[in-house]
Each structure stands twice: as C-alpha cells, then as structure tokens.
Amino acid sequence: MHASLHLPGAAVILGLLCVAHAAGCQDRDQPPGLRPALDATPIASASVHRPDKLSGVSTDRRDSLGRPIRAACVTCHSLRRPDALPTSTAELDEFHVGLRFEHGGLSCASCHVIGEQDTLRKADGTLVPMRDAMQLCAQCHGPQLRDYANGAHGGMNGSYAGGARVRNHCVDCHDPHVPAFQPSMPVLPPRDRFVAAPGTGEGAHR
C-alpha cells in the first residue's frame, strides 16, 4: 500500500522533469539542421564586365560632380581623315603620342583597323567590335582562354552559386599595350608581434 501510493507520485515528478528537460533542450544534443543548398553554379547568369577603356580615353578634366570625363574615340578621330597606321609607337605624331608599347613584336595594324577606331581585326581578317576584344586576345592566348572559360583565370565578383556574377574582361586587368603586370607597392604591411620591432608589436609585453 505504502509503495503503491508513492510510485505514481514519483512517476508524475519524473514525467514533469522530462517535459521540462525537453522544453529546455529542444534543439540540443543533436546536430543543428543544414540549410538547403543554393542553385548550381550560375554559369548562365555570368556576365562579362564592360571596361570603359574600350569605348574612349580618359581626359584630365572632371565634371561638376567631380567625376572624370572620358572622351569617346570618335570625338577626336572624326576630325581627321584617316591616315595609314604607324608600325610602331615611335611614329605617333598626333594621336596617342608617348604611348608605351610592350606586347611582343606586334605592330599597330596587328589589331587596329585604319579609320575605324571602334573596331579590331583578327588575324584571319574578321572584324570584331572593340567591346569584343577578348576574341582578339584569344587568338594568341589559348591557354588563358581555356582557363578563363573554366573560371580559373581572370577573377570575378558576385556569387559562386545561387546568384549573378560579373567576370572581368581581359583589359580590366591587362593593359593591351603593356599586358604584363607592372611592379607596384604592396598594401597593408603586417605589424604583428613576429615582425615588429621588439616591444612595439602585437602581444609585446608592456
């Protein structure tokens, strides 16, 4: 009798404890849930950036909002009857004087077309608009084109999955007249305790 009276009481207390426990740890002691994966690689939504320098040149002027003013190629070139293209930058006397050129043994006419400053010519004679300059670069730089097509060259911004991305154009990174990266000063010099003068860096004893 004594035992039968107490057993239900103990069971009730135990039950209450379990309920309280479950309420307090509903998502503990089990791996937290994963989010569903985003859509696959957004190859279709990848666009290629359109660099300004393919449609004009920068001037040293600025507009009323302080933005640099660019001039379209036609602004100057329409004023003059087209002349034969020079073979090297040394022969430039009116347009683009002082242009630096270090891109193999090419001459101006290897890429540019007389009188059509917005057009380029491939080695097989096909004309391509300036904005499609990548086709022109691709003629010689096959491995880079292959890597670019597979996302392993050129860099990008945006999403690797589930969203849009913007790929860089060849001339975003490479000056077509001097395509090699030019030496520049690195940014953000490290100042942690391993490199700073004793007593000044991160973690120095003070």
Partner: protein, 300 residues
C-alpha cells in the same frame, strides 16, 4: 598559558593568510564584470545553445557592439548548406604579392586596425625554393620582385585539423561544410591551437580590437566576422557569412590578378573542381597529413 597564546596567534595568522589568499584568488572576478557580463560568462557552448538562447546572445552582442563601438550591426547565425563542401584554390603562377587579399580580409572581418591584422599572410619566396618557413611576410618593395614568387597562406580548413584536436575545451570544431569554426565565447585563450597549426593561420587577440565605428563591417556572422573579444583565438572562416549565402569570399573579389578560385567541391560543374581535375595542384605540408581544403596550383 604561553602555549595557548601561541596557538591562538598561529590560528589568527593562518586565518588572515587564508582570507587574503582567498581574496586574491577571487580578484579576477572583480575585474571580470568590466568586460564580461554574467550572461556571457554563463553562456553555453555554441553547439548546445537553443535557438532562443542563441537569439538572446546575438541581441546582447549587437547591443554591446552598439555601446562599445558606436555602430549598429547585424549578427546572423548562418548554417551550412546541404551538399556543399567548400574548397579554395590559388594560382601561384599569377599571384603578384600585392596583399590586396590581406587588406580585403582586414576590412571584411573587422580586424584590429592597430596591428593591421589579417587572416592572410603573403609569403615572398625564392623561386625554386619551397620551404614555407623561409618565406618572408614583411617585404616592403615593389612587387612582383625579380626571382621571387608569392604564396598567400591562410587557414587551410584541414579535414584532419591539428588545431581542433588540441583544443582542451572543444571551442573549435569542423563544420559540416568543411569550415573550422571557433566559438569566441567558449575559447579560453590558451593558444594551443595557434601552436598546433602548421600554417600559422590562427591569430590571438592580445588586446581588445580597435575599429573606428565608420569602418566596422555591419554584416556580421556569429561564427565569423563579429568583433572578437580580447583574449580569444580567431581564424579565417572562408568568410562563411558570405559564402554560405553563395557569395565569394572577400579575398577572392579583391584579387586584382584573378589568382583565386572558390567553390563547392561537390558540384562537378564548379570552377574549383575544374582546377583540381585539370591543373597541377599541391597542398602545403602534405606530409603532415592535415588534408587541407586549400589548394595551390600552377598554370601550365
């Protein structure tokens, strides 16, 4: 009589010493309240928090950031995605050592401004040599320099991570998508992980991070770029607050040479898979058996 007096004197002396020792031992508790709230002290491990407790902790952290740094921030707990395993690759053929990646990391992850801290250390190496320990991270001259190549090193998100194994309190662990995460509120700052990491990828917050309010990145992840407290270890998380939502890591977007490739290793159409299948790749210190998720490759 004299004996009793001496006994009393010894008792009093002992009690005084004991009391002062106890007071001294409790001393940290008095300083503790200044930079550590009771809630924070009693907070459980990240993996044991219920969603309410986590939401409460996040609200508290957002409030503290507002009070201490003067900036409204949003801290989110972004869970890993199903069927996603992160991988990162870097082309040593095109990296020029400009440290733009380190700078982007510095800005994105709310690093201490005074120490120029960053999760990325770019090593300048002699061409032909391959000893990471001989790399120079402090070069200050125009890059790329003749006869040198550049190897950025950050957390390799090892599958067999020594840092995870040595942590005495399990404050660091491997997430389901491959990221090695740190619970900044559980870390005791013993720095065992920093010593265990063969890639020098972990950083210790010797001081409270100083970031001007205007420079704080308000888009913060609980396990990634929220401002870390003093005395805890931190590390690269592949920008999980960005990458778990499909965005690229900050260092990749900042790279002016396009040397970096990021993606889902389980997606056969991803760029990272193409690199792994078609390039000559290697991992740093392969012989240690850490099985990194970070790959270096060459253009051929």
């Amino acid at each position: 009589m004299t004996q009793t007096t001496r006994r009393v004197a010894l008792k009093v002396l002992g009690a005084t010493l004991g009391a002062s020792a106890f007071a001294h031992a409790m001393e940290p508790l008095r300083a503790w309240s200044k930079d550590l709230s009771l809630d924070q002290f009693l907070q459980r491990h990240y993996k044991e928090l219920t969603s309410e407790e986590l939401a409460e902790g996040i609200r508290r952290l957002e409030r503290e950031t507002r009070e201490e740094y003067g900036r409204e921030v949003t801290i989110r707990d972004i869970r890993p995605q199903e069927g996603v395993q992160f991988g990162y690759a870097l082309s040593l053929s095109v990296c020029i050592g400009c440290r733009k990646c380190a700078e982007a990391c510095h800005v994105e992850n709310n690093h201490d401004r005074r120490t120029n801290n960053s999760y990325i250390r770019v090593l300048e190496m002699d061409q032909g040599s391959f000893d990471m320990e001989k790399g120079d991270a402090t070069y200050e001259h125009a890059v790329p320099a003749k006869g040198k190549y550049y190897m950025p090193v950050q957390c390799q998100q090892c599958d067999n991570a020594p840092c995870v194994k040595v942590c005495p309190v399990q404050a660091t662990w491997k997430e389901p998508d491959g990221i090695v995460a740190v619970d900044y509120n559980w870390c005791i700052g013993c720095r065992y992980c920093e010593a265990a990491c063969p890639y020098h990828a972990r950083r210790f917050n010797w001081t409270k991070p100083e970031v001007p309010a205007g420079e704080i990145n308000p888009d913060q992840g609980y396990l990634s770029n929220r401002i870390r407290p003093q005395g805890v270890v931190e590390k690269c998380t592949f920008c999980l607050h960005r990458t778990r939502e499909g965005r690229m890591p900050a260092c990749l977007e900042a790279c002016p040479t396009g040397a970096r490739v990021f993606g889902n290793l389980l997606d056969p159409k991803s760029e990272i898979r193409w690199v792994l299948e078609n390039k000559r790749i290697f991992v740093l210190k392969e012989e240690l058996g850490t099985r990194p998720r970070f790959f270096y490759f060459f253009d051929v």
